[in-house]
Amino acid sequence: MNHPQELKYTRSHEWVKMVDDTTALVGLTDYAQHSLGDLVFVNLPMVGDPVTKEEAFGDVESVKAVSDVFSPFDGEVSKVNEELLDEPGKINADPYGAWLIEVSNISGQEELLSAEDYEKVCQEEE
């Protein structure tokens, strides 16, 4: 399973890429897309919506189930990857290219996991 070193992770299988000190991209990890299977729908928030740490900001749907996607921190949605609404399969094809949202004015990101620690979380779940 591919979990790039330069990214940070959550226990609920989101990845975080810092754009600058208070802005970050959020997506679903390779492990998450693999466990969910082929995605068929994605629900994302609107630009300007607030997000709250550990609360759902959207959901993804596979033929098996719908799963919430959780925010790794508090902040405000500054961009939404609208391309995914038409082509949710991009998350399966390229989980680290297919970011879901960009969040600005973030706070509370201290507890994010390194790639190494995240691998351990995945192994525990296996």
Binding site: D38, V40, G89
Partner: protein, 474 residues
């Protein structure tokens, strides 16, 4: 197989519609051109549907242990009763005094179903389970609002709940508070206590729950909600486990829905329509939907409750389904109803016990009317998933159990045999499951290839969801 549209031949047709026997009216906005419909002879239509029927699998074909759906056999006498002209040929706009027998059916069905569930009143308007949930939540909402208690906007739903629960609550304009289950698959009391407050409108629960276990803390659970000022909603999906044994009303529930098409032997889904009556305690009765049939000194009539939430469906719901359910209740009687539930639980435990020789059961102990297996180890060791096993069951003439649900169990297969299956059928099914397990260990690839004997092989579910083709350009 060709569609009716593709079978259409210009100039063919049939006269299956009866002649007009009421005065014709000319609508103001009339179509300019006639509707383009397939032109087919009656014999070809008949063959078309027979061919379709041959490609399906129903309870009349074989074992159908679809968890949480209660695919019991539907006795033919139900249909005979519903087809009686006095029931089948009535019109919803007929005056009540000309359909007294139909109103009596509704009041009798209400009386018996209230007796079975421990409720005080019931509406038959909702057309299915989720529709019933939505209606029940509107009753809860109306109740709080009538008391000026407008802060109560949150519905507590356990993570093992049916997906319709949070969906219905959202539709009713409420927010969901999800609480995790404990290790036994039951409600985590401490988490529940932490979740309730002045904003709690109510709790939605099935008992026995989604993993087929009766939550023994139910009285404590419903009291926590009541003490916080909320109401308790019982999802009747799993009522087949407890009819005549224990009543939701006595467990502390204030409002419930039933699935007549599950528990009371009326047809499901495409063979329906369904019926999801909502029962409630006295405190919610003033808010019930319109068309509530009542008995008075002058016979039966429809009552409109004073603070009614209005209609949730035209007239009185799917009436013929209520006739079928009432027939079922009267056929079985009080003892038979209890026996049906007892045998449903016995059958589930028997099959669970046999399957546990080969498969992992997600939760230990005695189950109620259904149980959940987890095929996680089979997947790890042999690369065979719950989906693969389900597909091979199809090759053996068995409808697969519910798959990948509940979400809290990985590689889940949820099995509900129902009471209408004999020990022979259960033994045959157990042998099939055994053979599939052996095959999975020896030749996993064979399972990846299944099904091989069905009219269609594995369907492209992802393609169907991503690019649904919903119309035919005719």
């Amino acid at each position: 197989m060709k569609l009716l549209f593709e079978k259409s031949v210009e100039g063919r047709g049939c006269s299956i519609l009866p002649p007009l026997d009421v005065p014709a009216c000319e609508p103001k906005e009339k179509r300019q051109a006639p509707l383009r419909l397939p032109q087919i002879a009656e014999v070809d239509i008949s063959r078309h549907y027979t061919e379709l029927a041959k490609r399906t699998h129903g309870v009349n074909d074989g074992f159908y242990p679809l968890g949480s759906c209660t695919m019991k056999y539907n006795p033919k006498i139900n249909d005979e009763m519903a087809a009686l002209p006095g029931f089948a040929k009535v019109h919803p706009l007929q005056p009540a005094h000309t359909v007294q027998g139909c109103l009596k059916v509704l009041t009798l069905a209400e009386k018996y179903l209230c007796e079975i569930t421990g409720m005080d009143a019931m509406t038959f308007q909702p057309a299915a389970g989720a529709h019933g949930e939505f209606t029940g939540l509107l009753l809860i909402k109306a109740y709080h609002k009538s008391r000026g208690d407008t802060r109560r906007t949150k519905i507590i739903v356990p993570d093992a709940a049916h997906g319709t629960n949070p969906a219905s609550a959202t539709m009713a304009g409420m927010q969901i508070v999800n609480i995790p289950s404990n290790e036994e698959g039951c409600v985590d009391i401490e988490k529940l206590k932490a979740a309730v407050g002045e904003d709690t409108a109510g709790l939605m629960l099935t008992n026995p729950n989604t993993v087929g276990i009766f939550d023994k803390n139910i009285l404590q659970i419903t009291k926590i909600i009541h003490d916080a000022g909320g109401l308790n909603y019982y999802d009747g999906a799993n009522l087949n486990a407890v009819m005549g044994v224990v009543r939701p009303g006595d467990m502390g529930f204030d409002v419930i829905h039933l699935n007549l098409h599950k528990t009371f032997s009326t047809p499901h889904g495409g063979g329906g329509p369904g019926s999801g009556p909502v029962g409630c305690k006295e405190l919610l009765k003033p808010f019930l939907p319109l068309y509530h049939a009542v008995q008075t000194d002058d016979g039966y009539r429809f009552d409109s409750p004073k603070q009614s939430i209005g209609s949730v469906k035209a007239f009185y719901g799917n009436f013929a389904v209520v006739v079928k359910a009432l027939t079922y209740i009267l056929t079985l009687g009080a003892e038979g109803i209890r026996e049906a539930s007892q045998n449903a639980v016995l059958n589930a435990n028997y099959l669970k016990s046999r399957l546990s020789q080969w498969y992992d059961i997600a939760y230990d102990g005695i189950c109620m009317h259904e149980f959940v297996m987890t095929l996680e180890n089979l997947k790890k060791e042999h690369g065979v998933t719950a989906m693969d096993v389900a597909k091979m069951l199809l090759d053996n003439g068995i409808h697969p159990p519910t798959m990948y649900f509940p979400l809290i169990v990985h590689e889940a297969l949820m099995v509900e045999p129902t009471e209408t299956e004999s020990k022979d059928t259960l033994d045959q099914a157990a042998e099939v499951f055994h053979a599939i397990y052996q095959k999975a260990c020896e030749d996993p690839e064979a399972l990846h290839q299944a099904p091989t004997t069905t009219p269609v092989r594995r369907l492209d579910e992802v393609g169907a969801a991503r690019n649904p083709v919903l119309k035919y350009p005719f």
